[in-house]
Symmetry: C2
Subunit: 225 residues, 2 copies
DNA sequence: TCAAAAGTGTTCAGGGTACACCCATGG
DNA sequence: CCATGGGTGTACCCTGAACACTTTTGA
């Protein structure tokens, strides 16, 4: 009885593609794969997969991310759906792009090798197959907007971070220079960011105070840096 | 040779649903249909359709809108993709929601009747079938954001409009009261909005000056009211 | 003559931006 | 002792918000 309403309609392949951002020693990276399968074998690509009959599109994205990184429960956001007829030379595939932000040090490097995945610098993104460059562009625009209204940075940073690290991240993502004093003042006014008693001695002789995000205050609706 | 890469993958129905906003005598409306077909026969619904093998998802949305309204080339925006497994009791359907803004007076009322479609006040949106209320919520949030950064209002208004009409539209969409003097000052500072020599005598004894959007200036990246 | 909508400037506060120097430490 | 990154306050400007009365005209 079910499965009879839409019999005359076409069915299409539905894919997900993941734009995965990570931060490594202060520089922002994107996780890309060199395809060792057709179509577009040998070209750069986002990591993707197909949505199965019995999983939601969101879950398909989570599954693809987990396969690649071993990580569960990562923050992911739908970016946009790409549905041109000939976007994929393999067949007609409608693809939903998702964006993930994660802390690079948590991730499983074996899985990365298995999929032939590597971190590529955010400022040196190569030409990718199909419409994947366009997907990345959409994702970046979306992140830029969210950075201004939500606490996102903590998803990329280690648990404890210096204000300089935080500022560098904002500068990279927003592609702008920020005045140090103004940035620090605003960061400290922001109740999500709390000071710890730890000092980072790795990046300077003097040492820099480490801060954390205050998990219970992350829910705050308005966020400003 | 083509069509062999993805053979083992599932194929799904892909739908589009249209959230259609229109303005009628100063009040904002949504175009909904009372379904005279299964599933959810008799319930309120967005107008939708299925994406065909040989059309892009964007074009499917345009086709659905054109069928219903007779209008071509209407401003439409992808809102979000809804992909829960059981969102549609008829079958597994992944649906891409689109938002359209149009001027109600241009549209073909015969087609509306054919589909059992009616304009429903923006402030009295009924319970709709499936996840359609959620789609509308997403669409409204997106419009609210775009209102502040793009000239959108002119897509809903007639070609010539009074500043009071414009202000009412902003107040409805943003769900806020705006100070008249501040609003008018900002509107007139905005180079997209130009004064005409026409006077509207329908809505007041005194008459109100009619304005137009300046089409060549609509491309401006930043927009503020 | 009055009801109803159109139209019109000024003041004030707060947020954002610009700007330069001292501090602590390891090598 | 010096090179390196960490850390700190103030002044100004501009934008956004608040606020009330006069004008026009049809009924």
């Amino acid at each position: 009885m079910i499965n009879t309403f839409y019999n005359q309609q076409d069915q299409l392949f539905v894919g997900v593609d993941c734009i995965i951002f990570g931060l490594c020693e202060g520089s922002l990276k994107l996780l890309l794969i060199k395809r060792d399968f057709e179509p577009h074998k040998g070209e750069w690509s986002l990591m993707g997969g197909f949505v199965r009959q019995n999983e939601s599109v969101d879950n398909a994205a989570r599954r693809v991310l987990k396969n690649l990184t071993g990580l569960d429960g990562i923050y992911m956001n739908q970016v946009n759906t790409f549905g041109d007829v000939n976007r994929d030379p393999g067949d007609r595939v409608v693809s939903v792009a998702y964006c993930a932000l994660l802390n690079m040090h948590e991730i499983d490097n074996c899985a990365l090798q298995k999929y032939n995945a590597t971190w590529v610098d955010y400022n040196e993104i190569p030409r990718l197959c199909m419409d994947h460059n366009l997907m990345i562009e959409h994702a970046i625009n979306k992140i830029r907007h969210r950075m201004r209204t939500e606490p996102l940075a903590f998803r990329l940073l280690p648990q404890r971070f210096t204000l300089t690290q935080l500022q560098n991240l904002y500068e990279t993502l927003l592609d702008t220079k920020i005045d140090k004093r103004n940035f620090r003042r605003r960061a400290l006014e922001n109740s999500c960011i709390v000071s710890t008693n730890y000092i980072d001695k790795e990046n300077s002789r003097r040492g820099a105070r480490l801060y954390e995000y205050h998990s219970e205050r992350l829910e705050l609706l308005s966020f400003k840096i």
